[in-house]
């Protein structure tokens, strides 16, 4: 399981109800169910990945986060997880609001466009960055609203959401983000993980 999922799993308390939005083939869901006694549900748009989840005995609903989160009542989950898909929505703010309505807390991870390799790619090559976390070309990327760790922190603050924990990941290391190191973490991390609440 990838490092990002391990960090997310550590943020989730045992014996809770969790919704994984864009759960893909259910790797994180399976881990949470088997290791943390989580009552876990997934929402996934890809038919193929829905089948993969069913193969694992996971409860998954085929659907689209932008339309199908509405059906869940307020605060019906302890946590709602959104891993690296916020940037792919037409209206990310609407999705964030929905996550925070449905979940008591939300865990959002974002690929960091402020990562030095991304910046260097654009600076030196002058073409849209292609990295491990951003593997697609500009014309076939699902990403519509790329942001940096700093952008996301500023956004969350501007909406007066509470940030419980901000973590920065690069290939090997996980570290805490705070006010003093925000600039540095924004430069040296390829992924940001945030535990937030409305």
């Amino acid at each position: 399981m990838k490092n990002e999922f391990k960090v997310i799993a550590d943020l989730v308390e045992k014996n809770t109800r969790v919704l994984d939005v864009g759960c893909a083939d259910g790797v994180l869901m399976e881990f949470l169910r088997d290791n943390k006694d989580i009552d876990i549900r997934g929402l996934e748009i890809s038919k193929n990945k829905v089948q993969k989840c069913i193969e694992k005995g996971l409860t998954v609903i085929e659907g689209n986060a932008e339309f199908d989160l509405k059906q869940f009542p307020d605060k019906s989950f302890d946590y709602v997880i959104l891993s690296q898909t916020l940037q792919a929505f037409l209206n990310p703010e609407l999705v964030i609001n929905e996550l925070l309505r449905v979940g008591k807390k939300a865990i959002v991870t974002i690929p960091n466009f402020g990562y030095w390799k991304v910046r260097l790619h654009l600076l030196i090559k002058g073409t849209m960055p292609v990295t491990k976390t951003l593997p697609d070309q500009w014309y076939d990327t699902p990403n519509l609203h790329m942001c940096t760790i700093k952008d996301f922190v500023y956004f969350v603050r501007s909406r007066n959401f509470k940030i419980f924990k901000s973590l920065a990941l690069n290939e090997k290391n996980t570290s805490l983000i705070n006010n003093n190191n925000l600039g540095i973490k924004n430069l040296f991390s390829d992924l940001g993980i945030f535990l937030i609440e409305k």
Binding site: I54, G57, L58, I61
Partner: protein
């Protein structure tokens, strides 16, 4: 309707109060079972059949000498694996394969019921079938499964008996018959009524059955079970055993011949009055209405695990109507999964060889069974 074959039948002695107000008792339910019930009696699956189905869900149907209606899904090593599970399926009341229906004699008058048979509902069908669970001494079914009208029975069953099933699988169905659904059923009923042999339901099953009207009803309904794309790909404008158009009203096109065939084989195995009664039961089905318009309340007392399945090309019970069930369940935090299966085979997809559907059904059942073990 060959009655010489020995059908397994449970005679229900307990009175059953029907939605129409009448009470029936000492009535037969014809059923069939597959596989064997284990010692703990925790491996039973109740399968509900659709409009024209019967208890012969798998193996060879002894009446038609064809495969059971859900042979793709039910049998040894299949999605509903009879090596593992004990499958029960019964003919609905109002039906014509041994269960109490309009072709039976009214015990009071000794005359065939015909349209004097009480109007029955999905609720009545389910309450009648519950007697089978008691008959087998099953405290809790592992699963209840059904497509189309079978799915409606699944929803009604778990609403009536919230702690009697571990898992619940409504397939290609709806919680409420739409105007379009009612319209198509009415077309079928009127086709039967327009056949002079029908005679207000008082026909002689042995010789003067309203087979023309029933055949037309089946032809019209059959179109609603298929998709436009599926029909076009299978038949297109292909001609039936001829080089060119005959400038007549024979079946020039393969699709005409196909529909005529569907109609004619149907009348050999189905009773016209049963068709009226069962389509009526479907039309009356509105689960939310039973709970003052709140569908979620139908499921509020159950802890069962739901898996709702729809098909992309099903326009009779489209994905949105299946999703409405999912939405109602999510509104109360129920354990519900949902998958829309890609298929161009229309509403009939659930009865056919659609591999993604069959594997999803198998995986859901087997993983759920392993989890409760």
């Amino acid at each position: 309707m060959n009655k010489e074959i020995n059908l397994k039948t449970l005679l229900v002695k307990k009175p059953l109060k029907l939605d129409c107000g009448k009470t029936i008792n000492n009535f037969p339910i014809a059923y069939e079972t597959y596989g064997s019930l284990n010692e703990k009696k925790d491996n039973a699956i109740l399968v509900f059949h659709a409009l024209t189905g019967d208890q012969f869900v798998a193996g060879l149907n002894p009446i038609t000498n064809k495969d059971g209606w859900w042979s793709y899904a039910v049998g040894p090593n299949k999605s509903i694996d009879t090596n593992k599970y004990f499958v029960i399926c019964s003919n609905v009341i109002g039906g014509c394969l041994g269960s109490f229906g309009p072709s039976h004699k009214d015990p009071d008058t000794q005359k065939i019921f015909g349209t004097n048979f009480p109007v029955i509902t999905i609720n009545d069908m389910v309450n009648a079938q519950y007697n089978l669970i008691e008959h087998f001494g099953i405290d809790k079914l592992f699963s209840i499964v059904g497509g189309s009208m079978g799915g409606m029975q699944v929803l009604q069953f778990i609403s009536n008996f919230p702690d009697k099933a571990q898992t619940v699988i409504p397939i290609a169905c709806t919680s409420s018959h739409s105007a379009q659904n009612i319209a198509f059923n009415e077309l079928g009923r009127q086709a039967i009524a327009a056949d002079s042999n029908w005679n207000e339901g008082n026909y002689n099953i042995k010789d003067t059955i309203p087979n023309k009207g029933l055949a037309v009803a089946r032809m019209a309904a059959h179109i609603t079970y298929l998709s436009k794309k599926g029909l076009q790909e299978k038949f297109g404008r292909k001609l039936q055993e001829r080089e060119d158009l005959k400038f007549s009203f024979d079946a020039d096109f393969q699709i005409e011949s196909y529909l005529r065939h569907q109609g004619s084989v149907f009348v050999d195995r189905f009773d016209a009055n049963s068709y009226l009664y069962i389509t009526r039961a479907m039309d009356y089905f509105d689960l939310a209405k039973q709970f003052n318009g709140n569908l979620s309340d139908a499921f509020k007392d159950t802890k069962a695990k739901f898996f709702v399945i729809s098909f992309t090309s099903d326009w009779l019970y489209p994905t949105q109507e299946n999703k409405d069930i999912v939405i109602a369940l999510n509104a109360i935090g129920a354990d519900v999964g949902f998958a829309e299966i890609e298929s161009d085979k229309g509403h009939d997809s659930f009865l056919l060889d659609v591999p993604e559907f069959l594997s999803a059904l198998k995986n859901f059942l087997d993983k759920s069974y392993a989890a409760v073990k």
